[in-house]
């Protein structure tokens, strides 16, 4: 095999691109889980975002409008989940699974006419001074706007959870909904907003896949990215900074295995294709072996104000 064919500058640049969809979805899901809700429908919301974003971008020739539409679609889907789990008190695991199954069907239905089409993609930003730096310029400072948006989102979520009153309330609801309710906070309202935010982020992540990363629509194109995002939240022990590390790690594995396949590495292709999933399992194992890892105390528990 020929490792010299792998260009380190392009490698880092493509890691950033391939990590962005997972990062967006995982950030959203982290906020949802911080509020005490486990939404297993990330995969379904992502793929719906992917197809809606693609369809809108093709029809309006504006990728930005595609992203907006994808966020709305993801949020709309998550609203169904929110309504069922928060008002009808359905089982969160089952409802999330249902959301994923329904989202996969819905996306295949919407996407049929768009298969094989090309969409307008986001332009690379032309950042004045930074973009002209010798190596770093190409590596870090010449991406499209969504890459930087996802990084800004990490900082924003971190600051929101750590330094604002609203963030404190959100965390209180996730740790003990009964206490939060007794203090007069609207548990259901807080959770619904968190769920909508998570849905919008998942939709954006999906649209980044279909509009920038691939950029095409194929049925089932998320291929487990939503589930990997869920795993990253666990890996990150529900901390924004570690979600970033996790997402870039997985982006790295994905890109590296593709590069190794292309370079004709002496490793079975099946093993390389399965490696992102195997490494996800491995990471989950390592994290769980470390013991208690800071999950919100009320995660997955239904809340019903009986008085």
């Amino acid at each position: 095999m020929d490792l010299s064919s792998i260009n380190p500058v392009l490698l880092v640049a493509s890691i950033m691109v391939s990590a962005t969809p997972i990062l967006l979805a995982a950030m959203g899901e982290m906020v949802v889980e911080k509020s005490g809700v486990l939404n297993l429908g990330v995969e379904g919301m992502m793929i719906t975002g992917a197809v809606v974003g693609f369809a809108v971008a093709v029809n309006t020739t504006s990728p930005m409008l595609g992203f907006v539409a994808a966020a709305i679609a993801g949020a709309a889907l998550s609203l169904a989940f929110g309504f069922l789990t928060q008002f009808l008190l359905s089982n969160q695991v089952a409802t999330g699974l249902g959301l994923t199954l329904a989202g996969l069907g819905l996306s295949a239905l919407i996407g049929k006419p768009y298969e094989g089409m090309k969409s307008p993609t986001l332009p690379k930003l032309d950042i004045p001074v930074l973009g002209d730096l010798p190596v770093l310029g190409k590596m870090v400072f010449s991406h499209d706007i969504m890459v930087y948006f996802s990084l800004a989102l990490v900082v924003a979520v971190w600051a929101f959870l750590k330094h604002t009153r609203a963030g404190l309330i959100l965390r209180a609801v996730g740790e003990s909904h009964d206490s939060a309710h007794a203090l007069g906070y609207k548990v259901v309202r807080v959770r619904l907003i968190a769920i909508l935010f998570g849905g919008a982020c998942s939709g954006l992540g999906g649209a980044y896949l279909s509009l920038v990363r691939v950029p095409q629509w194929t049925e089932g194109m998320t291929a487990g990215a939503g589930w990997i995002a869920l795993a990253i939240v666990v890996f990150a022990s529900w901390r924004a900074g570690r979600v970033l590390i996790g997402a870039y790690l997985f982006g790295g594995v994905t890109v590296l295995q593709l590069n190794l396949q292309a370079a004709g590495a002496n490793v079975p292709v099946a093993l390389l294709s399965a490696s992102p999933y195997l490494i996800t399992i491995l990471v989950l194992v390592v994290i769980s072996a470390r013991g208690n890892h800071g999950a919100p105390a009320a995660l997955g528990r239904p809340f019903h104000a009986s008085h």
């Binding site: 199954l101 329904a102 239905l109 049929k112 795993a231 099946a270």
Partner: protein, 361 residues
Amino acid sequence: MIRLEKRPQPSQAWTTFSPLLAVFLTMVVGGLLFGMLGASPFEAIRTIFWDPLFHPNFAAYSRPQLLVKAGPLILIAIGLSIGFKAGIWNIGAEGQYIMGAICGAGAGLAFYPSESPLIFPLMLLAGLAGGWAWAMIPAVLKTRLGTNEILVSLMLVYVAETILASAASGFLRNPEGMGFPGSRNFKEWGAAHNGELIANTGMHWGVVAAFIAVIAAYVFLSRHIQGFNVRLTGEAPRAARFAGVNPTRVVLFCLGLSGALAGAAGMFEATGPAGQISIDFNAGYGFTAIIVAFLGRLNPIGILLAGLLMALTYIGGELAQLMLSLPGAAIQLFQGMLLFFLLATDVFTNYRIRLSRKEAA
């Protein structure tokens, strides 16, 4: 204002009624959806639910398909339901189904072209073992290290799919297949073929196994102490611990059982209706079985009925694709909606709706 009031006991009537209401609501909303896709709603619903059984031209072909499709769904769902009852979420049945098929087919093909009557039982054992072993990965990780079984079992589906791809194009490829991917065709090898037991009914060994599983699960859950332990673990984990139920054993048992049944279903499918191991012989039964398990209220008899209904939507969906040119994905959405409506109507089982004025505090 509308308030929900928790029932002291889950309502028996609503337990039975809510799946029916969910099916009805799905038909209404699904009909509207099909209307939007340009087909007459009533015709679409009739094509999906009625024509497969009673259409003068198609029924003869589609009626046997009912059992062919329901068999694996019921077999997998029975295994899943026992785990779900205990709060153990095996959602990787699709992967266990694939591994069961690969192991079962592999064990048989190792003895090709022997016509020994022991071949098929051996393949069944290998299928059971393959699914069981694949499910043991999340089970052991959960019991030893506390790893989340939902994520691990799901990730293993994708791993199983890559193994399937390399099996079909590599180590199980038909040596006489002129290089095309796909294993030998079991339909041409009597000793390993899981054919129809009674002509034109669709009845094959997998369907027999599904019926046996329904009865066994019913007896197990209502009459056996281990079945009681499983239910107790799900409904009151603390009480179960005090009663001396070993949670590790329950996890290993539930995941192992659901994996083995899914593996058997995969093996029956590969040697019967599918006929060979090919890259895409798996039709998503492992995921649809989750809907079947819930729609059947995690109750064996309910699962039997839900499996038949879901099989009907598969066949009806194909028919609707053919006759009304509705896209195949529509039926997938239809099935997802069914689960959603079921979970929504389930609120009436545990809660009662009260209309009340806001009381003065």
